[in-house]
Symmetry: C2
Subunit: 251 residues, 2 copies
DNA sequence: CCGATTTTGTTCTCACGTTCACAAGCTCCT
DNA sequence: AGGAGCTTGTGAACGTGAGAACAAAATCGG
């Protein structure tokens, strides 16, 4: 989702090294499942085994894997180590990606301490904040640096991924600075919609949105009997004004 | 997504008060955009305005809103306050939902401090942890309580939403306890696939998966010229054994 | 060496989600 | 009052994703 890169308008662009976005989003889950199996000393797994570990159904898993190539053996299954490496390579976590975290509040703090940042593949090279009272503070084995140093850090460490953990207010400005400095992937925790130019990928993590989605379903569960079909009508009471009823013009 | 509730196999279940899941996931974004417009003193907004503020296109926004009812006025647009209330009611955030957070590590700490938990609608009633050295610690105006008290808290405060911020290890057990205690919606930050019975909704927030998805796209950006079409073949070097190439049977 | 068994890779079909395009409906101006 | 100009709500076309089902390929036992 939120892929903002170039999109040539020409032909359907078939099999142009194109893995469906839905599949891409599941590959990390498969990777984690494979790592768990590997740690348990399991050398081979069927699509059924893997699917169970990853929480999907086996047909979907096989189809997903088929986009990467034919890495299984019919009648046997998949070699865990081999498949794990193939997926890791496909995702790109066989190399290390340099990451900066901007905004060292509660959440930035927590992420900075997040040991084993996923399962390798990512290296936090700087914690940045514009607040002078925070600059210099030590977190783990890192020190908070001034946001003004962003550009030189990005250049020096070839940073391609930025994590925004600022409040909503400064988030867009931080985002613009990151992009201008050369960052081309952004993970945004601030509760705002950020706009970025084409070629920059942005993903959002939003606690309150997740909670609200849960609340919607929760309401439907508990209310299924209580308020079965009283959706829109009675809610207009107590509201000061309505769209087209406004000044009572015309009629 | 990850809706785990009952699904009757019968007819297509058309218009059974059914808002598409993709739309549900966007309603909170619209709600936030409307709140921002409202705070700016804007009373009326067209679908184009709203769509821009929410980061979607206007056709999609109109279609999404049409599932809720006809709340706009042709030729004019939407009344910001009115629409905001309608969406809030549809989502269910006009009432307050009681939430418990389990696992007061770095992340749990950060979430506990997260002021204005979204935009109202949610109330943290307890912070729980099984670690005796944490129990009793004050965070903001709350005190960490023993996980053993889960059941009585859930019952006393009618808790329907649980947030899991434990490490991966205990997450499934915590999840089971939550479900057994009566929690029917779970937001999981632990990097594991949790299994829950039907009727319980679960959503996942996973930092390392998000980063990996970004890495995939990042790799495709930088590698588009460097390694254009060398996907699977050369990677087999250095691997001890391969699934079907193994003993060289057959041929 | 052959047939039974297992499990992958793929094809086909259906459901879901997105976008386009336009009729319906409202306001405002003359 | 009547027509011009907007903007919504929706029907229809299109694209993407999910799941069932099956043919192809590999192992294993006799």
């Amino acid at each position: 989702m939120t892929r903002a890169s170039s999109r040539r308008p020409g032909p359907p662009t078939r099999t142009e090294r194109g893995i469906p976005e839905a599949t891409v989003a599941r590959l990390p889950v498969y990777l984690r499942a494979l790592t768990a199996l590997s740690d348990s000393g399991i050398a081979t797994a069927s699509s059924e085994d893997l699917a169970t570990a990853a929480g999907v159904n086996s047909a979907k898993l096989r189809k997903d894997l088929s986009y990467l190539g034919s890495y299984g053996t019919r009648g046997v299954g998949y070699d865990v180590e081999y498949l794990r490496y193939q997926i890791a390579r496909e995702i790109g976590v066989t190399q290390d990606w340099a990451v900066v975290i901007v905004g060292i509040g509660n959440l930035g703090h927590a992420l900075a301490n997040y040991s084993g940042f996923g399962t390798r593949g990512f290296r936090i090279v700087a914690l940045l904040d514009a607040d002078p009272t925070l600059v210099g503070e030590r977190i783990g084995d890192m020190e908070v640096r001034d946001f003004a140093q962003l550009e030189e850090i990005v250049e020096a460490d070839r940073v391609s991924i930025g994590v925004i953990t600022t409040p909503a207010g400064p988030a867009q400005e931080v985002c613009d600075r990151l992009v201008a400095a050369g960052v081309t992937s952004i993970l945004n925790f601030a509760p705002v919609v950020l706009s970025v130019p084409d070629g920059v990928d942005i993903r959002k993590v939003d606690l309150s949105i997740e909670l609200q989605i849960l609340a919607y379903h929760e309401q439907r569960k508990s209310g299924e009997a209580a308020l079965p079909q009283v959706p829109e009508l009675p809610a207009m009471n107590g509201l000061t004004d309505l769209p087209s009823v406004g000044g009572g013009v015309g009629a």
